[in-house]
Symmetry: C2
Subunit: 278 residues, 2 copies
């Protein structure tokens, strides 16, 4: 498989993994966001991922992937996952897929990458928090309207991620050399059985180790911390405890989406390096 | 979505539909053939489907799709579905997607298409029956070794399908203007709800109307007919009867794969004509 194909497969394996408490999975649809929206999102993202593989700049490839992903009626399915996958695909197409090489790719992003990243917000409704007061002109919700401010301030896409990193688990991967992604990719090889099931297990481990930043943005730090602790308990309790945890997250409309994004990225790394095989 | 993207999505929606008695689905893995093999098959088939969209001959595009599909360890996941999808994608890329136009595309296939079709058998292990005595040199199990015989006899891919049509439901679509495919595509619009669930319903209707030819080849006509009747009873009985039917097919290792292939083709037609939307 090519890097772009493995990225598409990683998106599919991520959503197929079950139980993945709080997220759509093979056995769990939400009312307006269903398994099939994720299937369509994965298919639609393909051309953007292939563009990244062919060496397109990260921002342009990301915008194309998000535009493709958005050709379904479920809304934002894989925005965060693609923000991790696009630089990983680009890296793997041109060098060894290790932390240092993807770090170089993201550090080399430009102001143009940043403007294309902002344009991606015009394709789909993404949940984001209010920006700090002095960064208001760079509020991502402004989409393409923020482009002049980005250009004035010479803000690169890496700069944008640096600003977001303290509160955003995906941005934090960019500035940390994809630390949790590579950790989780290694961890996938510690289990046997179907890859998607291993993905679900590693998702729960990631969730138990750090607060999910999407949950934190939507429900506050206290809820995010309690989810982290409950994930730990679910891992210890196994089967029925995990199922009960999953049900309660759905009832409370709590969606640890950032942890799912990192799971997808880890699946890609494990597939692409040959550490796991379907 | 482009025709190739809709074809890829149709493959995914087909396997996601549950319950689909006797086939892998979103809730049912077999030991050696799992849901994730179908996900990987769909991803891998993408480049061949895009080649068909770009106007490549049916045989070459099909061989490429099958080679891509085979990059997973589950074996034959979507050979029959691709044999329907490739001419449908090619047709839709160049004209209206109606029975007459796809009929013209398959009738215009050449000896070269036939040779590439045979080469596709070298990529994956496909269950086929013994050929009639006089057609032994054209046994598809010979793969590329049958090419000289095809060339000697000037056998086109359409000719090959005509020979197989009496015993093979996929080949029969080729020579009937994709009659059951278009019927099932229409039928998908008669239901509400997730597309994959509609696919599972239409699968059961197709199974109740005609004997599945893969079941017939593997288990004989009597078994195939009893499966048809039981599908009818399952449709009438609903929920629990369908589940029991599904369990018994798995226990008896009976796989109505041809009916699943036609379901995938119908999903493609419905997506591509805009009759259904994800």
């Amino acid at each position: 498989m090519t890097p772009a194909e493995n990225a598409q497969l990683a998106l599919l394996l991520e959503v197929a993994g079950t139980p993945k408490p709080g997220n759509v999975d093979r056995e769990r649809d939400f009312d307006d966001l269903r398994f099939e929206h994720f299937l369509a999102g994965s298919v639609g993202a393909g051309s953007g991922l292939r563009t990244a593989e062919d060496g397109a700049p990260v921002g342009a490839a990301f915008e194309q992937a998000v535009a493709g992903m958005s050709q379904q009626r479920g809304g934002n399915t894989q925005f965060g996952a693609l923000l991790l996958l696009v630089p990983l695909v680009r890296t793997s197409a041109e060098s060894d897929l290790v932390s240092e090489s993807v770090r170089a790719v993201v550090e080399n992003t430009t102001v143009e990458d940043a403007t294309n990243f902002y344009r991606a917000f015009d394709h789909v409704d993404v949940f984001v928090d209010d920006p700090p007061e002095d960064a208001e002109p760079l509020d991502v919700r402004r989409g393409a309207d923020a482009v002049p401010a980005l250009e004035d301030r010479e803000t690169t896409l890496y700069d944008v991620m640096e600003m977001s990193a303290p509160d955003d688990g995906v941005a934090n991967e960019w500035v940390s050399g994809f630390e949790r992604t590579f950790w989780a990719a290694d961890r996938l090889t510690d289990f046997e059985g179907p890859i998607s099931a291993r993905g679900a297990r590693v998702y729960l481990e990631l969730l138990s180790r750090e607060r999910d930043t999407l949950v934190q943005k939507q429900h506050g730090r206290k809820v995010a911390e309690s989810i982290r602790v409950r994930a730990q308990e679910a891992l210890e309790g196994g089967g029925a405890v995990i199922e009960a945890f999953a049900e309660s997250l759905v009832d409370d409309d709590i969606n640890p989406g950032t942890t799912a994004d990192i799971t997808a990225a880890a699946l890609f790394v494990a597939l692409e390096t040959g550490a796991v095989e379907v």
